[in-house]
């Protein structure tokens, strides 16, 4: 079974939590979509600066969006489609799965065939 790695962005953590809470469950509370949610948080846009004792001098600049990766058991929940983003494979986080990575790469190149990632380079001479 090939599991799907999908990446999402929300306006803030509360919005992400709300979407997670709305993932469908059966009458016993078990998820009807097999999934593993990994909250990546507000990604760092500009890293903080530390002195050489690791005392922070300047704070990091963080993305305004809250990032979440989901490892879907078979198909992604369509209710999350409006939050999906497609960073260049595999972004800053993976689920350590060869088959899921291959699926994400193929999907990415379907969506962005002209991207540098998906355009074959000329052979070296």
């Amino acid at each position: 079974m090939t599991r799907l790695t999908r990446k999402y962005e929300f306006v803030n953590e509360a919005a992400a939590d709300a979407a997670i809470a709305l993932l469908p469950t059966d009458e016993e509370g078990n998820p009807t979509h097999e999934h593993l949610v990994t909250k990546l948080g507000y990604l760092v846009v500009t890293p903080p600066i530390f002195d050489n004792e690791f005392e922070q001098i300047t704070a990091p600049v963080l993305s305004e969006k809250y990032a979440v990766d989901v490892y879907w058991g078979n198909e992604a929940d369509v209710s999350w489609d409006s939050f999906i983003v497609w960073p260049t494979p595999m972004g800053i986080h993976t689920y350590g799965s060869s088959s899921s990575r291959n699926e994400y790469e193929a999907k990415y190149c379907d969506l962005f065939p002209e991207s540098l990632y998906c355009t074959p380079p000329e052979p070296l001479e």
Binding site: K39, L62, G73, G96, S97, P121, P123
Partner: protein, 612 residues
Amino acid sequence: MSLYNKATLILPVSPAYKDGAIQSYRPLTSEGAFAFSRGSNLAATRVAPNGFIEKGRENLIPASNSFQSWFTINSDRTFNQSGYDGLNNATLIEALSSGVTGGLQPVAYPIGTQSGVNTFSVYAKAGTGDFLVSTVAFLPVLISVYFNLSNGTIYSDPSPSPDLITSKMENVGNGWYRCSLTQKETINQVVISISNEGGVLTSIAGDNIFIQDVQLEQGLVATEYIGTITTTKTAGILEDLPRLDYSGGVTCPSILLEPSRTNLISQSEYVNGSPDVSNSTITSNAATSPQGLVNASKVVPNTSNTFHWFGQVFNSQSSGNYTQTIFAKADTYNHIFMVIRTDGGSERYGVKFNLSNGTFVDEIIFGTPSQTNYLIEDYSNGWYRCSISSNHSSGAVIALFGASLGGALSSINNEFAGDGTSGINVFGAQLETGSYPTSYIPSYGVSVTRAKDSCVNSTVATSTDFTIFFEAKDFCLINGTTGGSYDQVQFVFSATGGAYDSGGSYHIYANSLYYYDGTANTSFGQIFNNQTDSKFAIVKRGNKGIIYANGVKKTEITLPSGADAKVINWDTIDLTQSLQDAQGDIFGSKYQQILKFNSGLSDAELATLTTI
């Protein structure tokens, strides 16, 4: 008669396992089949029978020895040559023109784009030409190494690429070498070329060399070759392969079952690529690691009388417990010092371990860190896995590691002056959320999540009376012992695979066994002494509920009226359904045996069965 002859289900860990399933010794039918899934191969590791850590591996180059499909660059190919392994499937490549590049490249876009630390390797032998040139690239960046196949040396490039970590020639006999280069840049091309001179990518018409078995893989070293045909191929730990763990040098393994965890550290092995290195020199591939390969790093503090460490800052982390871990081995220094800073650095917890004897030396705090813990575990051959934990509320978490002198800690920065040459060896850094460390999750440039193990048998036959026996260990380890009040385990058997608190299920919670019939719990009493017990039996005999642990009857209750009929209503054994401790951590465990009997064994039999 052996008690094993009476068992209807026997699940000792056995060779009878494959990707997606473990089959019990008895019965050899679906009733004895446990479905297994995880969905992570490259993130999963175990201790293999040889005592070394085994990973999931992958050759990222399709057609890894089918060079007829590769693009030729001013060169020709002759196939079916005698190879290093005795097979006649090596390839002779020959330059067609003088003064230009001659070589081979996989056909267009075969390897995708690979980021992070990876190693490109090829077996090669000199023909009439001397040099094999391995090149990896993401134009305009080129990283090339010249291997002299005539004398087994690597050309010393006066200005090597800063992205080249290391290169290596391994003599494999009969004039063959395995040539490998390890680098850290994003690449999307690999090329094998012929050259007649080190550092100059030109060849002479007619020059030729033999090549065989190409591999591109994550990590600092070339590992055992994985042959590919049309696609990439994996080996070692597969995505849904049960992990039979031989930790501690045992001959009888356990089934390693763990919750999902993420290694936040982006370079777990290439520690010289850690975002932050202070007052230390780090040499990659300096020693044999717990993986049994020469891919451990040596960390040497400099002579400044100050702090010496490497590590990584993790901004904006969610609240909870965090545990940082590393494998370490004494070299010319015998100690490692580790600090975890939480709440943006306002809370700090540091611990020093002695790597010559595997003991805790001292701990120190700055601020008021809470729920702090440490652990050191023996991984053989002088290697120890050291871990420390602390609670975090908000802001950044900072994980720091460094070689150290001995003695008590006098400051949270552990200042001292090194001699510039002495140090320790390290491998496999990890930072994960949770109050205890889980198995090693390798990372090569980005954080990696290992998904949860799932091991379920949903076809267990019910019986009026029964005995369930299980032997397990490492439910949760804190400070070297199983931990305080955080000692729930995950063993659940239930009707139709429902949740542990749904109708018709047994579960263990807070040391006690409960049967929940959908309305109310029936407690069988305490089952689990977290300090000593590892063998447990749960028995339904008539209207009695009985628990044995380590040869001792823990409790015997008379089941409430009506309960004796209900408590047989289950058909599923789920070894991985999540139960959480008071802090929300989900526990893993190692199961060595599971037995089911369709009868309530006698007290004498139970004492025998559970005696260590």
